[in-house]
């Protein structure tokens, strides 16, 4: 379980104004919010990439925010993260990209690494790309490789920053389906951040709506739809 308490993050202005949230094991939580509402900041703070000004985060009772590097490292072995722009390492091939975290933290043989890379590429339905460099891939393929990299070491929690943004509708739909299948197959806890409501409806077991630096709503999809708020209706109009 991930526990977030009173999280405050200020840059030149307050971005998160004291948010709390519990993320349950094996759920598919979707965090909705407008562009610039602080979604990326929120998940990056949860995994310890951004230091909060106040508040606490713990992952399976390991504190992320207390600043102990050893603790943080322990927590991170359970975390996968798929960045908004994939963030593949340009200087490494697809194979090396996926193998890197495996090599770093687990004592595996060459063959075991090879098998794990192959398996995670199969899970994202990509094959025969091991030797290519990120620059040789399309946007959708990069997203898939990034997902493969995040699932390769079988972390318990996987974060997705806007998995369908910047893709054509067909590819976006494919990724949506892929994540849904993947979630069922590997029984992990998925946390995705998005403003794509089609995606949300398809995959979410729970929604958290980030607005004005706070969670305006946390609950089920159908409850969210029932909310009588103009912005939510706008979501529907846009996406349906």
């Amino acid at each position: 379980m991930i526990r977030v308490r009173d999280l405050e993050v200020n840059f030149d202005f307050p971005v998160l104004k004291g948010v709390s949230l519990d993320i349950e094991d094996e759920e598919f939580l979707v965090i909705l919010g407008k562009s610039g509402s602080g979604k990326t900041v929120f998940i990056k703070t949860v995994v310890g990439l951004i230091r909060p000004n106040r508040g606490e985060v713990s992952i399976d009772d390991i504190s992320v925010t207390n600043g102990e590097p050893k603790e943080l490292l322990k927590a991170r072995k359970n975390i996968g993260f798929v960045f908004q722009g994939a963030a593949l390492f340009d200087s490494l091939t697809v194979f090396e990209n996926i193998a890197l975290p495996l090599r770093e933290h687990f004592s595996l043989t060459k063959k075991e690494i090879k098998d794990k890379v192959k398996k995670s590429l199969e899970l994202v339905e990509l094959e025969g790309v091991e030797k290519l460099y990120p620059a040789q891939l399309s946007g959708g393929m990069k997203k898939r490789v990034a997902i493969a990299r995040a699932i390769a070491y079988e972390p318990k929690y996987i974060f997705f920053d806007e998995p369908t943004t910047g893709l054509d509708p067909e590819t976006a739909l494919k990724i949506t389906k892929l994540l849904k299948d993947l979630w069922k197959k590997i029984k992990g806890t998925f946390i995705a951040v998005t403003h794509d409501f089609g995606f949300t409806e398809e995959v979410a077991t729970r929604i958290a709506w980030l607005k004005g630096g706070r969670f305006e709503f946390v609950g089920k999809v159908n409850e969210f739809k029932k909310l009588d708020v103009k912005e939510i209706q706008a979501y529907f109009v846009k996406t349906f």
Partner: protein
């Protein structure tokens, strides 16, 4: 006042990243392959530039020295003057400055791009230290590559100095080499190489540090590369003086 605070902040950050790099030195074994790759990037790929620069450096040194000493000092000292000047001062410093321009900016651009495209975040979230993964290979490679480049620069510069003095009739090559050898001290050569090594650390660390400091936005990476080169150049001159005092003082 503001500017002093920010200079101290920057210096603090710079020193702390040097310190963190030192700490991760114990994991150097993991980065052996990367170090070899970086030596190639930093060293071998800088060769043409270094050879070109040092050739002219040697020629200028010979002609200028000859012009200055011609009427007062026997020309046997020409070879000695050029060789010493090149080994102690000109070889390491010019190599350092030239490579800072080429490699320091390259490192800053590379790491800066990684920063803005979240590749650094990706490293951290995987529990891989950017200091170990990015800083160590570059800093160690530059520390090794710079003395090697400097030796080549020294040889090329002295040789070209000799050639130019021979063919312009200032001093023939026998006189030039006799002078160079007569007054040769190993300390001159090795002192220069130690400086070169320090310059390697400075220019690579500067690239790494400003790369990591890159802010988002269109100016980000460009600004980092500029800062990396300017800072590296200033620090090279500062340490040239300090190390000069320590080694030769």
């Amino acid at each position: 006042m503001r500017i002093f605070v920010s200079i101290f902040e920057e210096a603090g950050g710079f020193i702390s990243s040097f310190w963190k790099t030192l700490i991760y030195l114990k994991e150097i074994g993991k980065t052996r392959k990367d170090i070899v790759f970086q030596i190639n990037q930093i060293g071998v790929n800088s060769l043409p530039l270094v050879i070109f620069t040092s050739a002219f450096l040697g020629m200028v040194a010979a002609v200028q020295t000859a012009y200055q000493i011609r009427d007062y000092v026997p020309l046997i000292y020409l070879g000695a003057g050029v060789a010493k000047g090149v080994m102690i001062e000109l070889g390491p410093v010019i190599t350092g400055l030239v490579v800072a321009g080429r490699v320091g900016s390259g490192i800053a651009a590379e790491i800066g791009t990684m920063k803005v495209t979240e590749q650094i975040d990706a490293l951290e979230v995987m529990g891989i230290s950017p200091y170990r993964f990015l800083f160590i290979p570059r800093v160690v490679a530059a520390m090794i590559a710079l003395p090697m480049l400097t030796i080549i620069a020294d040889i090329v510069a002295i040789f070209c100095g000799m050639i130019i003095s021979h063919f312009t009739g200032i001093a023939n090559y026998i006189l030039f080499t006799r002078g160079a050898r007569l007054f040769f001290l190993p300390k001159d050569l090795f002192g220069g190489l130690i400086k070169a090594s320090a310059f390697g650390i400075i220019l690579s660390l500067s690239g790494c540090f400003y790369g990591m400091e890159t802010k988002r936005g269109a100016q980000g990476v460009g600004l980092s590369t500029t800062k990396a080169v300017v800072t590296a150049s200033l620090l090279i001159l500062l340490f040239d003086y300090l190390l000069g005092v320590i080694i030769f003082g």
